[in-house]
Point group: C2
């Protein structure tokens, strides 16, 4: 028997309509590519989004069309999120750090018909133009005065498109499973793969995440999405913030420690969201100035695991560090580090340990971990296996990519994350490694992540990675690659630290110092690149044997 | 084009599974009919709910079957919510304050096959038994030791049903629009009408309400649902609390000021939810003792508008008063009094004014107000009209009642609330009256609610109501009925107060003192009863004319 309730489609456009009415003074502060700081509210933004929607229709954008963006975090990019999905089209956010080849591939694969670009990325497009479909039209996200001289024929001007358009828009109704946004994984293996989010998945994600962070999603609280709008919807903040009345401060292009500190200090940001690399920069600045940015109290770390020493240093200054774990394929948030009341009594050290884990699942995302044969293993906090996930915010397949879909989904319809993890009976997820980053030495697994977490605590280590290198006898052995502080540590110094936590056979066979570690387009250490660089590396034992 | 996301049905059972895993130590504290206080956690409750689900299936309960409850707020009632809906059946909560006639009607109309009853309501059932379907089986919600001697043939014992059942249950999957809960309006006009909630509507309601009250829905916060589980799902708290990790304190049967005060004080309740009558009792106790219950900081008032003086007194003691407005037909919450950041600077008086209104809509509930011809009128904060609502948490029709459905829904599928209201451009809803409680005097409308709000501020008034009485010349004229404090006010004293806010022609023509006002089954003043009582009332002018 069915209930007698109305069935209304969950729509992204309703979030902004709601914000404009119920949180009208919620702010969007943007450091612009034009160089200044721009301020607007949800009320004003809704009017411009209506204008943009009319403009898009005027350009012939129809339901289902893919419209691409190549832009920093800012109010215009936010407007595109709502206007494109609002008319039933798909907002395809492109990561500007992708290689030219990857970018060409995804524009073609997505079938983008229109591309919105920040002035700073115009040179990238100029170089690519010959490779891109001729029919692809370009809109530069600025006003006439700031339009760059460009070789891009017929490039349109964003602000001119909006001029004179109606400030009201009657958002169409459609199936809530309609596609709304498209994001490609940065493709550390094979071609980039697209996750095609629906209105239902994004609205549910927006409802689910705030209840796991009730101190952050409060009207007037200021949130800094350092995580880019071109990277998995900035972890959902363009939806969760207006829905809850929180304000957003968009940092634009400058993400060094000093710039982020100054912006946070000036704008009284309470909660800052981004990857560990950015927070290491901010932490350096905080230590240099000997104080926190004013109003700063909360940090969300995702993308990669937060190194324990980083957590310790922020916590010591009173900043609540919250891990969030997820994937492009998960909209993206799958867990948060929401504390339980009992933890208020915990000793600091235990709390930091806990915060180094990935936290607990958000409502409606289900986890299972399986052994090599795909059989579920117990959630006992010890048994590791590959993590599979299920839920309305998880992809059921990649966009037009049957082979990648087949490889990712199991027979019961769960998505394989490629992460290796264990889960406690009370739901605490700990990612022990990426499946492909595990090192198999003489039949035993060694976790590169565990080793890295300990090495990161060494004062002479700025960043590090452990990768597998081939070994005749043991199959694979770990190699430690370090970006040092100053001269960096010696192998003996690192070993001394590691031996407190690991058996000798688990220790890296060698340590290599590099100026900096290669990063992926999303700012994570690229182990793929490292493995290529060190594919022929001779371990000391092997060198000795020559 | 559709997204490539998984589609998982939204299910109520997943809320408790989530709570048991992610908020395992969240508590349910119950004042039992057995007389003691019972404590359990979400983790333990999930095990008992699994046992209960097995027991229900053992009793032959099938998907779609209606299972009734006649019970106070307590953990067993909570368990029934989850076990019944979890197996795809419908939890029909019966209001024990309904008349025998109404109760017989709704048990028959719902087609209940099984009825769970608290020991205190067994005598009601014994009287009714002859009128109820013979096949209806009764389960008494207690253990063997507390089973009452009863004439109810074959009454089963709740705890015996659970004994030995498996503590795990594989919750079935079904369409998220499947019926989950049934609640009848108390029926001030005509027969009671049923709202049949779905899994989708309840899960969405549970996600939507907490984001509008982020200070309340926090792990470990203690919430007191004085609002009964038999009254519109206790405003959703049995779902929102476990979903967010908040704890619940169920007060059982004793709802007088002293009992509620003692319970809140002992259990450190932060947020208390209920109708104004209960809070008037608590307020009296607070003033008597000269202090608040320990930890008390937040109150949610619904069911009827909170009288301004009550809001003032709570606020003066530092308790944040939050209005919530809704209806049985709305799951039930439609608005909350969530403050915007700017209000922190408002003078107290302006804030109290604001808090006397119904607040702003929650996400995904849409409002329109229409004139007598059904045409939408502007949201300008002045123009009044009948309020229509739309959303996933709103009924699209009554359960098996085509004529009531036809009367309630408009041509565009909106539900008519029967409330008269205006809405400001920034979404603040003010209910000015029930449509049928408006008084039409010489073609002009007089709001009974506005008059009552002012009269309530008089120190000699405990409670009051304004109703229309027939008038030869003016059609209708207002009559004021007062439950006094001490001797009560004179007409002249009340008029003096009213003339500060109203024109003389809007004032009640007479004042009648009564010992107490008649209440509906949900604790609201029954204007239907009052109108019947005073149908033949002669106003002074009319008496003079005789």
């Amino acid at each position: 028997m069915l209930g007698t309730m109305m069935h209304r489609p969950l729509r992204i456009a309703d979030i902004l309509t709601f914000a404009a009415e119920c949180h009208p003074d919620g702010e969007i502060v943007s450091v612009r590519t034009e160089g200044d700081v721009h301020r607007t509210t949800y009320r004003e933004t809704a009017l411009r989004v209506a204008q943009l929607a009319h403009a898009l229709q005027g350009l012939g954008v129809a339901p289902g069309d893919r419209v691409a963006t190549l832009a920093w975090n800012g109010y215009r990019h936010f407007e595109l999120y709502y206007a494109i999905s609002g008319i039933g089209a798909v907002c395809h956010t492109i990561n500007p750090r992708l290689s030219a080849e990857q970018m060409t591939y995804i524009v073609g694969h997505a079938g983008d018909t229109l591309l919105f670009v920040d002035t700073t990325f115009v040179p990238i497009l100029e170089k690519l133009r010959g490779e891109l479909p001729e029919a692809l039209r370009i809109v530069v996200m600025t006003d006439r005065a700031h339009m760059p001289g460009t070789t891009l024929d017929g490039a349109l001007c964003y602000e001119e498109l909006l001029e004179g358009q109606d400030e009201a828009f009657d958002w169409p109704e459609f199936d809530e499973n309609t596609a709304a946004a498209l994001c490609y994984t940065s493709g550390t293996t094979g071609e980039p793969k697209g996750a095609l989010y629906s209105h239902r998945s994004m609205v549910l994600h927006s409802l689910i995440v705030p209840i796991s962070m009730p101190t952050v999603f409060v009207p007037g609280r200021r949130i800094l999405p350092v995580v880019p709008l071109f990277h998995v919807n900035a972890w959902g903040l363009p939806y969760t913030a207006p829905l809850t009345g929180a304000s957003m401060v968009f940092p634009g292009a400058k993400l060094d420690g000093a710039s982020v500190f100054d912006l946070m200090d000036r704008e009284k940001v309470y909660s800052a969201w981004g990857v560990p690399t950015v927070w290491l920069g901010l932490l350096g600045e905080i230590e240099k100035r000997g104080r926190l940015p004013e109003g700063f109290g909360h940090i969300v770390v995702g993308g990669s695991a937060a190194p324990r020493p980083m957590i310790e240093k922020f916590e010591a200054r009173g900043v609540d560090v919250c891990h969030a774990w997820g994937m492009t394929e998960m909209s993206p948030i799958g867990t948060t580090g929401q504390q339980s009341p009992a933890m208020a009594e915990w000793p600091k050290d235990r709390l930091i340990d806990w915060k180094s884990r990935q936290g607990r699942r958000v409502f409606s995302v289900d986890f299972k971990i399986v052994d090599e044969d795909g059989r579920p293993v117990p959630h006992d906090g010890k048994t590791v296996g590959e993590l599979y996930v299920r839920g309305n915010t998880v992809i059921g397949g990649y966009f037009e990519n049957a082979s990648a879909t087949a490889a990712a989904m199991d027979a019961d319809g769960w998505f394989g994350t490629g992460d290796v993890a264990h889960i406690t009976p009370d739901g605490i997820l700990t990612i022990t490694d990426r499946a492909k980053d595990l090192i198999k030495s003489g039949g035993e697994w060694i976790s590169s992540l565990d080793l890295e977490n300990v090495v990161m605590a060494h004062p002479k280590v700025a960043n590090c990675a452990v990768i597998a290198v081939p070994h005749e006898k043991w199959d694979e052995r770990p190699l430690l690659v370090v970006a040092p502080v100053g001269e960096g540590p010696t192998k003996a110094e690192v070993d001394e630290l590691l031996l407190k936590h690991f058996a000798r056979w688990q220790l890296p066979d060698d340590l290599v110092l590099v100026e900096e570690l290669p990063l992926t387009a999303t700012g994570k250490v690229s182990k793929l690149t490292l493995r290529r660089q060190f594919a022929q590396y001779q371990l000391p034992e092997q060198r000795a044997a020559v």
